[in-house]
């Protein structure tokens, strides 16, 4: 066991969780102890920033840190809101609970250990070992809901880590529109390790928008594991702008015939930020679909990386998968890494991917200049358009405006804001 893994087991023992939940937590810690955390020598972790983990305090931040509603984004009309501060449910800041919601600490079923042990889901084990609370959203047959879950990191890493947790289960034909946000209360150097599980039964539909906008000194690791059954559909849209260093791990299994996932991710890195994401989609059943889009911009000295892997098992005849991954460099010391990967074990497939990394398109830039636009404005406009491939898919107007404003801010362009 590595020194780091050893420390994690000790910290989790010291945290002294009791009852059946405690046993599960200890089991997760032990499992993590035996597989260890990844290193940059691991193929799927080579672009992530892992060094800071060695100095990390993993003990959960205490309950009771109070924040004011002012740090929260404006509510989105029609959505129930649930707020968690450092992983603890904050009812005072939440709107009246709607269908299917339970805070995990209060739920009958305490957090289950992550199903996928080891491998790329190791940070989910870390979450399972330490998570205090979290949200559970369970919709019954044919039910319908709209919910916003806001995770606020309020503590400095020195005080404790934040373990957001979200478990989603949609029964047959259920539909959920979900907004998941990660942000900070002020400029805290938080350590955030979130885990999210998604279960979609036959014909269920999940539309999920996740926004990672943590403070500039935060360190973030998240793991999303999804299982899709017959005919279910998952639309995921992610926008990552925050944190000093963020790593997102997305694991989806298309286990039922006709299931489909459509993911669009945008990432923006500036200063010395690291934005790394890994998405592994496994086609298990027949006639399953993947649509994957990534748009990343690396400015200054930032590194923006995306590794998207599509695996087609022998039984997944009729698979259709498309990947479009594009990175833009906007800084003399910036770095873009893109890896579109295909691993295919049957012949009845249609898979394609395209990846580009580079600068803005010369012809587009010239066109704008020839219309009299300032070079700086023209460049920002094209960056905006580049990201729009991803965020233009947001169909909730209020949310779209918020995201656009955030991105315009990130591109330092008042003019873009005015256009919204």
């Amino acid at each position: 066991m590595s020194a780091l893994a050893h420390r994690i087991v000790e910290e989790s023992t010291a945290a002294g969780f009791a009852g059946p939940a405690g046993a599960r937590r200890r089991a997760a810690a032990a499992a993590l102890g035996s597989v260890g955390l990844p290193t940059s020598r691991d193929e799927n972790w080579k672009y992530a920033s892992l060094r800071p983990l060695e100095r990390q305090n993993f003990t959960p931040a205490p309950r009771g840190v109070t924040i004011t509603a002012a740090v929260l984004p404006a509510p989105i009309t029609g959505f129930a809101r649930y707020v968690f501060v450092d992983g603890h449910f904050a009812p005072a800041l939440s709107a009246a609970p709607g269908a299917g919601f339970a805070a995990l600490a209060a739920a009958e079923t305490p957090p289950a250990a992550a199903a996928a042990v080891g491998g790329d889901a190791r940070f989910a084990l870390l979450n399972a070992a330490f998570a205090q609370d979290g949200a559970q959203l369970k919709l019954g047959r044919g039910e319908n809901a709209r919910a916003e879950v806001v995770f606020v990191a309020a503590s400095e890493a020195a005080v404790g880590a934040s373990y957001p947790r979200l478990e989603i289960e949609l029964a047959e034909g259920a539909q959920l529109e979900l907004i998941e946000r990660h942000l900070g209360a002020g400029e805290v150097a938080a350590f955030v390790n979130s885990a999210l599980t998604v279960q979609l039964d036959r014909g269920a539909q999940l539309r999920h928008t996740r926004l990672q906008d943590l403070p500039a000194r935060a360190l973030s690791f998240d793991t999303l594991s999804a299982e899709l059954h017959d005919g279910s559909a998952y639309r995921l849209l992610g926008v990552a702008t925050g944190a000093q260093s963020a790593r997102s791990t997305l694991l989806a299994r298309l286990a039922g015939e006709g299931a489909g996932i459509d993911m669009a991710l945008a990432a923006l890195g500036e200063a010395a930020q690291v934005q790394d994401a890994y998405a592994r989609i496994e086609h298990v059943a027949r006639n399953t679909r993947t649509e994957q889009l990534f748009r990343g911009i690396a400015a200054d000295r930032a590194r923006v990386a995306f590794n998207g892997k599509v695996v087609v098992d022998a039984g997944a005849a009729g698979t259709d998968s498309r990947q479009s991954l594009r990175g833009l460099l906007a800084g003399s010391q910036a770095e873009i890494d893109v890896r579109p990967q295909l691993e295919i074990y049957t012949d009845d497939v249609r898979c394609s991917h395209g990846a580009t990394a580079g600068k803005l398109d010369d012809a587009m830039l010239f066109y704008l200049l020839s219309r009299g636009l300032e070079p700086a404005t023209a460049q920002r406009l094209l960056k905006w358009a580049f990201l729009a491939d991803a965020f233009a898919r947001i169909e909730i107007p209020d949310l779209r405006r918020q995201i656009e404003a955030r991105l315009a801010g990130a591109l330092h362009d008042g003019a873009l804001k005015e256009l919204l």
Binding site: Q341, I344, D347, C351, T356
Partner: protein, 486 residues
């Protein structure tokens, strides 16, 4: 599936069973060192070849380093464990004296072998105009067209001869592109390499003919570790062809070669390979383990290195002919067709490392998988911070025939210069039933139809091959793949 396609498939599957056509063994007395690997074996090889001290030392350093290394493990290759101590690291056809001095002295049986392989060894051979250096097991047996080349100032000879005739070039360039510490198999090769080809093209010379080496593994339980070094001096050009075959044996045989290319200012090296080592039988028994390190360095401004490969043989192929583009304005190219059938596995691709400004690279990879074959493209395109305005374009397509094979695409795109551009495109699909049906509807037999479609699929690579090779490659492809439509 329609009845028609079903029939086609059955027909094609029977064609697939057609065997390896180069799997004969030549009965020749050979001088083989006993299996095993230690410093004494390395010294023995070096002594047998009358090498200067610097080379013996270099080999020993490589060997010592080899013993500190762990064998690599790959997620996508299933490899039976290799016992490096049971391999014989040197095998040479026995001759009366030191070796053949001219074609007349070459063992007629050997010449007959090459004839069977279709190698144009003899001056009167069909493909006159190709200069051939033939490597049989580990030793270079004959080099043709010596005089004509010598007149142009071109050095083209067995590596072991170059060690004696041009030691200064060997000392300067050997290991300068692929250092002996590079990777497990390159390190092993550095310690035990027995022969190979050496080419030097002087300044401003356009090599007057295609140069060619034909490799063959003949002896039982031998590994083949050849080493090729090509230096193209400023403003020169050379086209180099490499072909390979091996007899049919039940055991796996190891082939761990190293090829180093150096292109100076404005030089252009075109390196083409048709690899047809024995792939093993239909059940995956036997076959060559082909672990090759090929790398070219474009050292000079506006230099160019182009790799073209057609990989149809071997049980396992592991190779990534690469280019390090150091010179400003230099160009790297990689064109590849790799087929796997039965239980073959191929893990191949390239690395393009852009160092200089305005460097350009093109990658075209066509993978074809049939039977239980697993075909992996692995490619790295890296733009270093110094690679101002560098560009890459990659096209990488896979064709699947039958539901039990696999096609995998693992590109790495790493860009650290904001003026550089990388574009990668890939697609994977099965052979189009529409195209197939179209051909059938025009009265073309299934076998021909598949051949037509596959060679259309590979066309952009074949057109990069020298003419003589393009024909051979087409034929090989047809033999290794005919069929398997699922």
């Amino acid at each position: 599936m329609s009845e028609e396609t079903r029939q086609t498939q059955a027909e094609l599957e029977s064609l697939l069973a057609r065997g390896y056509q180069h799997g004969f063994v030549t009965e020749i007395e050979s001088d083989t060192v006993p299996p095993g690997l230690d410093e004494d074996v390395v010294r023995l090889i070096s002594r047998k070849k009358g090498e200067p001290a610097f080379l013996t030392e270099w080999r020993l350093k490589a060997l010592r380093h080899f013993f500190t290394m762990a064998e690599p493990h790959w997620a996508h290759l299933k490899i039976a464990p290799i016992d490096y101590q049971s391999i014989s690291y040197y095998s040479a056809p026995k001759t009366k004296k030191d070796g053949p001095k001219s074609l007349e002295e070459v063992d007629p049986k050997l010449l007959a072998t090459y004839e069977k392989l279709g190698v144009p060894l003899h001056e009167r051979a069909r493909l006159a105009g190709v200069a051939v250096d033939a490597v049989f097991d580990s030793v270079s047996v004959a080099t043709t067209f010596k005089e004509k080349l010598a007149a142009a100032g071109v050095v083209f000879c067995p590596f072991s001869e170059a060690v004696r005739s041009h030691p200064e070039l060997i000392e300067q360039y050997l290991g300068s592109v692929v250092p002996y510490t590079d990777n497990y198999f390159a390190t092993l090769n550095s310690a035990v390499f027995s022969d190979g080809s050496f080419v030097y093209i002087p300044k401003g010379v356009r090599c007057p003919m295609e140069l060619s080496t034909y490799f063959r593994i003949n002896a039982l339980n031998t590994g083949q570790f050849e080493r090729t070094l090509i230096i193209a001096d400023a403003g020169s050009y050379v086209s180099y062809l490499e072909g390979c075959s091996a007899p049919q044996r039940d055991e796996n045989q190891l082939h761990a070669a190293v090829v180093e290319l150096v292109a100076l200012d404005d030089a252009y090296i075109k390196y083409s390979t048709v690899q047809n080592w024995y792939p093993g039988d239909a059940d995956g028994k036997g076959g060559i383990y082909n672990f090759v390190t090929k790398r070219g360095e474009c050292r000079g401004r506006n230099s160019r290195i182009s790799w073209t490969q057609v990989e149809t043989g071997s049980a396992i192929t592991w190779k990534y002919p690469s280019c390090v583009l150091k010179g400003d304005g230099s160009i790297g190219e990689f064109y590849s067709v790799a087929t796997v059938n039965n239980h073959q596995q191929a893990d191949t691709g390239t690395k393009m490392i852009h160092v200089g400004r305005d460097t350009r690279s093109t990658i075209v990879s066509k993978g074809i998988s049939a039977g239980h074959g697993q075909n992996t493209y692995r490619g790295l395109v890296r733009m270093l911070p110094s690679a101002q305005a560098a560009r890459n374009f990659t096209q990488c397509d896979s064709l699947l025939m039958g539901g039990k094979c696999g096609a995998h695409t693992f590109p790495y795109v790493e860009v650290k210069n904001e003026t550089a551009t990388v574009e990668h495109e890939a697609s994977t699909s099965k052979i189009s039933e529409d195209q197939l049906f179209y051909c059938l509807a025009r009265g073309i037999g299934a076998e021909d139809a598949v051949n037509m479609i596959v060679s259309g699929f590979c066309k952009s690579v074949f057109k990069e091959l020298p003419m003589e090779f393009a024909v051979e490659a087409q034929n090989l492809l047809a033999v290794s793949l005919e069929g398997a439509v699922g």
